[in-house]
Symmetry: D2
Subunit: 446 residues, 4 copies
């Protein structure tokens, strides 16, 4: 039990779909899928298929196994050949009566089973990740509506720049998550059935023709609940890298949100707080943005894991490479695991986030209106000249009262605008409200 | 002139579209696009637009500038504010007559211009990359047809496994490249126009309404030859990461091909050779697979560059982050540069690759037929039993003549198969020929 | 049980020192170390120290615990606060009688315990890694002596370049491993004791003076079997990155060796073979270089894990960062785990590697002497001119007999050298033998 | 001119030591070093050495060339063979009179020259980086003394935790930079001279003996101003990865400092400001922490570059690998470039940083003393019980006056401590002052 999650609290409790046991179940299911596919094309007797299901524990609707195999035992036996399928096949054959044994793993290579199983595990994990992301996006969209017109500081390079709204900020987070979820949902997760060299030669030999071998591949993909690949992808690894890319993109979107939350939670800013901040035994006054911190830790780890998948893809030489393929398995699992955990916390965080609109407005007001300098420039420059505007902003930056300075200018030049309007941050939020509404409309139209 | 390509021969001569000067041109074009967009919605006088075009050198059909600005001067001036747009705006304004000066960069923030310019540069670079990849895929597909039925060894974990065909190998490479090109071609490359905080507030102020501000954004995107974004993406960086992901995926596909070529070029294997291998002054007998080596160097560098883009995306806090955005520019340029160079070499390599079908067949025959062990197993096990098959393979592995051993077994058991057929690698290539034909059909239907 | 090693066969069976349970034990040991340190400076009563040892299970010579705490329970409770120390402290306090409870975790912050525990775990793991690497280097050095003068082809850019010796190749591997082991052994692994903000304020408060607080820190480091840090390193993370750097460098050295072995094991090259190659059920003739493949999979994953540690270090803002620290734990564990597993296999591989010196010589001879072109150039150019040498090599490359061509040239120009010598690869191995001897001398002097 | 720094403002103006022209000069210097080494061991006539120096432009004291060779021309010619040394040798030979031409590149392989040149470039760049880091550390140490006792908030997980001092913060930065500089200064940068296969066979042939070949290697290293390697490191790449590791560690330390500065510069925090913050044309009130932003962009890019060097090291198969070596050159250059630029800005930033001690104290006071909760706990728990302390902190967190609450408790329990002392942050800074003093002493003792 090398890893139960002690060092990865972000995923603890949410990573069941990618546990070793889930992979083992998926391997058994893939083997079952092959036997069943032989049945589907009329080669394997129905009895062999049923016997496999019983003997190997494939029982439930989805074809997932309850094989009762011991993960540790398979893991131990996997070392000699370098992958778990080799010993697994032996164990499964032992469970089958001699007359049906031939159908177990018939014509397949380890990679057929392992690649297909990985896609099956990924499919299940993605369902959960997408659900969490969508839930989070819904919470945020809804809350964006509540704060649609609440002003806040837009910060660039850490400095107050111009006004924005809390609503737009929440909508931006939601849109990022939803875009990521859409990409995950659009992924192709193909099954793999190519035989030892990717030619399906064994399956042609067994089924008697190229057509029937391809029927078998179709049936196998269907049984695996997976897309049928155009061609074997044993050394054309885009199904793995596109999955990795989409996962890391999802973690990027989560990391962006979490980074904003840790920033906005800072003692001096305090515009948001986690619903139930993590405590500190020594410093009882602290309310740490723990979920955001954990999400950020995941977002920081994810990109380099994804890069490893690309390296493995680029180094997928021959008809099965000498190390690159093996590097994919734990790396992809870690990515899925991070996405599972982080998305759960994003959803929870989105639901419980406490937003302090009053504090956001106070922060915005700190600069005494200077956050509206851009607006003053745009409005007044044509009327009083650039130098005069600069003089006003400079004086205000040095401590003079901006309202008076602007009022003087308006009066002196007989300008028909009011200070109240010019320095009202709510009057300078552009299309923020439209973007919030558009976000809600998009959400509702799903 | 920090970098003219001395250390990056893979890209030398092919990276013009992503040179600093190209970026500077794109920045000027983006600024021009904004002035022109103000003209398009009826705000900026036509004269201002024309004047900008003349004064700033935007002359050609594509709106690309020939500004004559000095890259080094802009680069020097860029340090103080941290980006090149800040000084560029000043330089462009100086070139404009006082009365039109106001339209330069009006309401925009540096990021609007820089992000849009990056997308414009990327578009041009991708056109070239896709052309190279498609050309390479066409060469390979055509040559796959030539070698459709030429047998070769499929190698797994570096060992001969089963027969495959040269045709399938070439088709696999072609399919990988084409998949990558399709993904690149499908990318959305949106323009960016959000103003200082992503609210378009300045544009609403200038144009007088939210609707007209959005008209301006549409016109700007059209002028930039780019997709209009659903919303500003200043801190939602998927347009950058999806571009990076697709580029690295393309380099993965190129790396796979190149890795196979360096392997198959090995002195002991020698199934392929580069059309014009790189020489060695000291060792005149050597014919190095130089292009493949260069492509591999690119494929090895690409994944971690892409990871950096994801990190930048995950750390895109606030309404403009404190470092993450700046990290994107050179990183994305490097990725584009590698893709430009490597894809050119892949195309050249595919065109000139020398394939030695005779040698491939000889290599396959090295094992004296043992490469057909899987077939022997499949065919003979049901007829003579697993133990007998194992005995044959073991004896042959130890040096006995496989043909005789198999012939004996066939005779002894009165089996109606011939040794010639059973040990004919060409008869055990599965659907390789179908996959080659399918690849050609797909290619032709484009 | 997310991870028992099913997907990471390289480490299965060798990663006990970095299992969650080992980390939990180390956390308890670190907490014990603090209580004991209070005892060492005369503050905590001996009874409290002993009681902790008994109640919490710290029993063995090294102060390692056998706490009996349930990893899963601690992991579950760790989520809320984001790290396992927070709940652990509560659990340990419950085990202590009320009167001694105050000494548990007294004045410490979670990071003090976790960072120190990580260093303790690392120390144990490194001992094992270094032992494996040293053992491997010894095997290789010894075998290099056996093959000291056996010629083989030096290959550059995949092509035969000049002769080398098997001995030098083995020595090069050994030297790489030994350099890596030395670097690991030279690492500083400091304990951490800084309190909540890195000022030791709580310890000054508790002990009554800055001096005594520093005495406590010294005693704690001693109890942890760790180096005492010059200053708290809570946000100066070089102890972690230097550890990561050295681990990945070790995996680089292992990857180099493994990559050579997979290459040299290729069916067409076959100069080496693993002692017990991994089999294939479907293709009984195959002998896969499984250990080398697994090692390569580790070497491919390691660099990006190390990069993540650097990112965490660079983002260690404030007095404890908002995510970067949390990203370190599982990443460092993975690196240690890969190093543990890969080094074991390297040692096993080095011991059992089968070297086929005859085959190496045959491979070298494939080019009919052209592999000595460099030598011919050096010797003959001054005597017969560059053009004549080129003509010889060109003719030989095209198939003419090199021996005859050289003999003709020697005869024609009355040159006092023999063909046998000039084309003897063993006479052109430079200082290979000296390097082998030097490697052995270095090894023996350890 | 692909890259003049338009997209990398962090390095613009500081990266001359690693420009292509510097690499070309170093290549010429390395070639000169070889000719001169032949002279040193008495083989090449003095005239040949002098002629090379004149003809190839090696003129200055350090042996650096002023060859006048055109970088672009060499770069163009480098593509065919994949590295710049191949064409360079031809160009240099052309410049030499026929009788001395033989000494140019005599017996060497491209890698000997390129690897040695890279180390020469690195040495020069490191001198500059170390100087900047040391200068920065000196500024910070000096300023730490000024702010030795100025209190500020220590922040953990973004929340105020306990008091610290500005002095300690500055000292921590300084110590991080100095540690990094020390590591850079301690690097071994060996020359490379191994010949085509790493055996020095050509040099033995030319010099007549193994001993003299090794004398040549020693002389060459001395001429290159580099350490002599124990053995050729053509495929044992620790000299490159250790350099990369130390560079990225330096950028980590700079990134930590820069991240703190962007955080502390936030509008709401404002404890520090850059001496001359970057302006914004549209928002004249902004003072952006531009240098810190640029440094962070470098720190974010560096780790993955370093990872690529490790990958190249792990994939350094054969006696020269098929792509890994080529991937090192631009990657290492980028790392050096980032270090050069970032370290300059760190030094400048450290010199001009404006520190607002008053604001830091005000921020610390925001929590009305709750930042001293840990101290209250430590002091009062033994006297009034844990529950009573919790009640006080809870009430104060909810808005009650902490001073009064504490005063009441002291009075009620007759405790001989004063509120003024207990809630004085300056009285709870632990050994911060000692750490500042120790930092200064260390600095002075250099």
């Amino acid at each position: 039990m090398i890893d139960e999650g002690l060092l990865a609290p972000v995923a603890r409790g949410h990573d069941g779909p990618v546990a070793d046991s889930a992979f083992l179940d998926a391997l058994v299911s893939a083997e079952y899928g092959l036997v069943a596919a032989y049945g589907d094309i009329g080669l394997a007797p129905a009895d062999a298929v049923d016997t496999f299901a019983h003997a190997c524990g494939v029982a439930d609707r989805d074809g997932r196994s309850a094989s009762g195999l011991d993960v540790g035992q398979v893991a131990d036996a996997a070392v000699a050949g370098g992958n778990p399928v080799i010993p697994l096949v032996g164990m499964l054959r032992e469970r089958m009566p001699r007359e049906h044994r031939v159908w177990v793993h018939r014509g397949a290579t380890s990679q057929d089973i392992l690649d297909s199983a990985i896609m099956m595990v990924a499919r299940d994990a993605l369902t959960q990740v997408c659900a969490s992301l969508t839930e989070a996006a819904e919470h945020l969209t809804q809350r964006a509506h509540t704060h649609r017109d609440d002003v806040a500081a837009a910060r660039t390079l850490t400095q107050h720049a111009v006004p924005t709204t809390i609503g737009l900020r929440l909508t931006t987070w939601a849109r990022g998550l939803q875009h990521a979820a859409d990409r995950l949902a659009a992924l192709e997760l193909p099954a793999q059935l190519g035989g030892a060299g990717g030619t399906l030669a064994s399956f042609v030999e067994i089924t008697g023709s190229a057509d029937r071998a391809q029927d078998l591949a179709s049936a196998f993909a269907a049984r695996a609940g997976a897309v049928e690949a155009v061609a074997p992808w044993h050394v054309t690894r885009w199904p793995v890298t596109e999955l990795g890319d989409a996962l890391v993109a999802a973690l990027d979107a989560m990391g962006k949100l979490a980074g904003d939350i840790t920033t906005l939670s800072r003692t001096e800013i305090a515009e948001v707080a986690e619903g139930s901040g993590g405590g500190s035994s020594a410093m009882p006054q602290k309310q740490n943005p723990t979920e955001a911190v954990l999400i950020r830790s995941a977002a920081l780890r994810a990109p380099n894991l994804s890069a490893t998948l690309h390296l493995a893809s680029a180094f997928a030489v021959d008809e099965r490479p000498d190390g690159a393929w093996h590097a994919e398995w734990p790396t992809l699992r870690d990515l899925l695991r991070l996405a599972l955990g982080a998305s759960w916390h994003v959803s929870n965080l989105a639901r419980h986030l406490r937003v302090d609109a009053e504090r956001a407005a106070m922060n915005l007001a700190r600069s005494g209106g200077l956050v509206l300098s851009e607006r003053l420039s745009l409005v007044l420059k044509p009327l009083i000249g650039a130098d005069a505007v600069t003089a006003i902003v400079t004086a205000a930056s040095a401590g003079d009262d901006l309202r008076s300075l602007v009022q003087d200018a308006l009066t002196r030049h007989n300008i028909d605008r009011t200070v109240d309007d010019l320095l009202d941050p709510a009057a300078y939020t552009g299309i923020a409200a439209e973007l919030v509404d558009r976000g809600r409309d998009t959400e509702e139209s799903r």
